[in-house]
Structures are given as C-alpha cells and as structure tokens.
C-alpha cells in the first residue's frame, strides 16, 4: 500500500506500472480511477488551479481510508497518488488503483476510496479563471453530469 503526495505533474501509467512491478502480484483484477483537471468549471474557463492541502493530515486520512477499504473488501494492494500545488488543465489530479483477486472487490474498494477521499482528505482547490479572477471551489458534486 502506498500514499503519495506529488508537488509536480505525474504520469499515472508510469506510477501504476512502477508500483505494480515492485509491490504487487497474484492479482486478477485492477480497478483504477484517474481525476484530471479540466479547463472548464461552473460555466467558466479555468486556466490553472492551486491545490492546497494539510500536510500530515492528508496522509493520515488517506491511510485511514485505504485501511477501511481493506477491512470491507479483499484488497491485495492499493496505490493513491494525489497532486498538490500549481496544476494546469489536462494534468492528472488524483490516481487510485486497487488490486484484488476478483472484480467486485476491485470496483467497490476503488470507488469507496475515491468517494471517501473527496469528502475527508484535506485538499482544497482554488481556480484561476481566464479573467484572472481566483476563486475557491466550495463543494464537490455528487459525481454525475447533471448535478
């Protein structure tokens, strides 16, 4: 299991492959989620984002979340990578990868980790709009298009 906070852009495929080669074997299912910065939010064009976090608490909460997932599902291994600092459109913000024997456990645990991360891990997004106005993102959506 690994939790990584990254201050520079990361390549999710490289992260997963590297971690998988070093740490993981015997799995039959892998469920992965990647959140990517978009250049559009709440009707405005966004040219950059600053992701603030509470160093220390972030890691502590993410470790707790992954431990909870391992209690509920048969998880062989898990990797969470989260970006902080100055982020540009199309750069990955978060990567969650879960390795299990069977697909149901992988899907459930990966989704659990993502939802718990969004509600409990102390990260905050501040958007820089094309107008040069800065604004804090005040809440997460429920994750669906129409919401």
């Amino acid at each position: 299991m690994a939790i990584m906070i990254r201050h520079a852009a990361f390549d999710p495929w490289q992260e997963i492959q590297q971690y998988q080669n070093l740490a993981t074997s015997g799995y039959g299912a892998t469920s992965i989620f990647i959140g990517t910065m978009r250049d559009f939010n709440d009707g405005d064009t966004v040219k950059a984002m600053t992701l603030e976090h509470y160093a220390g608490m972030t890691e502590k909460q993410l470790e707790k979340i992954v431990a909870e997932a391992k209690q509920q599902w048969a998880v062989l291994d898990a990797l969470v990578v989260h970006r902080v600092g100055h982020i540009l459109p199309n750069e990955p913000i978060v990567l969650v990868s879960v390795w299990t024997l069977h697909r149901g456990d992988a899907f459930d645990a990966c989704r659990y980790i993502m939802e718990a991360l969004k509600s409990h891990a102390p990260f905050w997004k501040k958007e820089l709009l094309i107008t040069d106005e800065e604004r804090w993102v005040t809440h997460n959506t429920d994750g669906y298009k129409s919401s």
């Binding site: 102390p122 990260f123 905050w124």
Partner: protein, 77 residues
C-alpha cells in the same frame, strides 16, 4: 495549556492568517478554542475541525499541545 490553531483555504484567506496560539487553563472544547482566538467572528456553519489531524466534533475537549485545525469542506480528488 498551550494549543496551536491552524486555518486552511478560504477560511485562512478570510481570517487573513494561517495560525494562532492559545494559552489557557481549565476545560476547553474545540468551540471554545475558536472563541478564544476569534472573539468577534462567529464560527462559520460548514467548517470542519480536526484535532491532531483527526476529525472531531465541536464539543471535543482539547489537551495541552494539541493542534486544532479549522477548514472549509474539502474539495480534492
């Protein structure tokens, strides 16, 4: 006892500072901690609180050398 208080994100911006220190004697809840350093500003409704990096409710009692953090709803991921 000595308490360290931290603020993050929009709450930090609106207070204009990222931390406070509070010296106190006697029982002290997290709500009291806020009052102690923000006497004129009521605690915002949707604020989250952590003591030593674990979430707590506003009635949670602090102890010497605790780190108390106040912050708005998180928006990572």
């Amino acid at each position: 006892m000595s308490i360290k208080i931290r603020y993050f994100a929009s709450l930090k911006d609106s207070l204009g500072r990222s931390e406070d220190d509070l010296a106190w004697t006697g029982l002290l809840s997290v709500r009291d901690v806020w009052q102690g350093v923000n006497a004129t500003k009521p605690l915002p409704n949707n604020v989250l609180v952590a003591v030593n990096m674990d979430y707590v409710t506003l009635d949670h009692l602090v102890k010497d050398e605790d780190e108390v953090a106040f912050f708005p709803p998180v928006t990572g991921g």
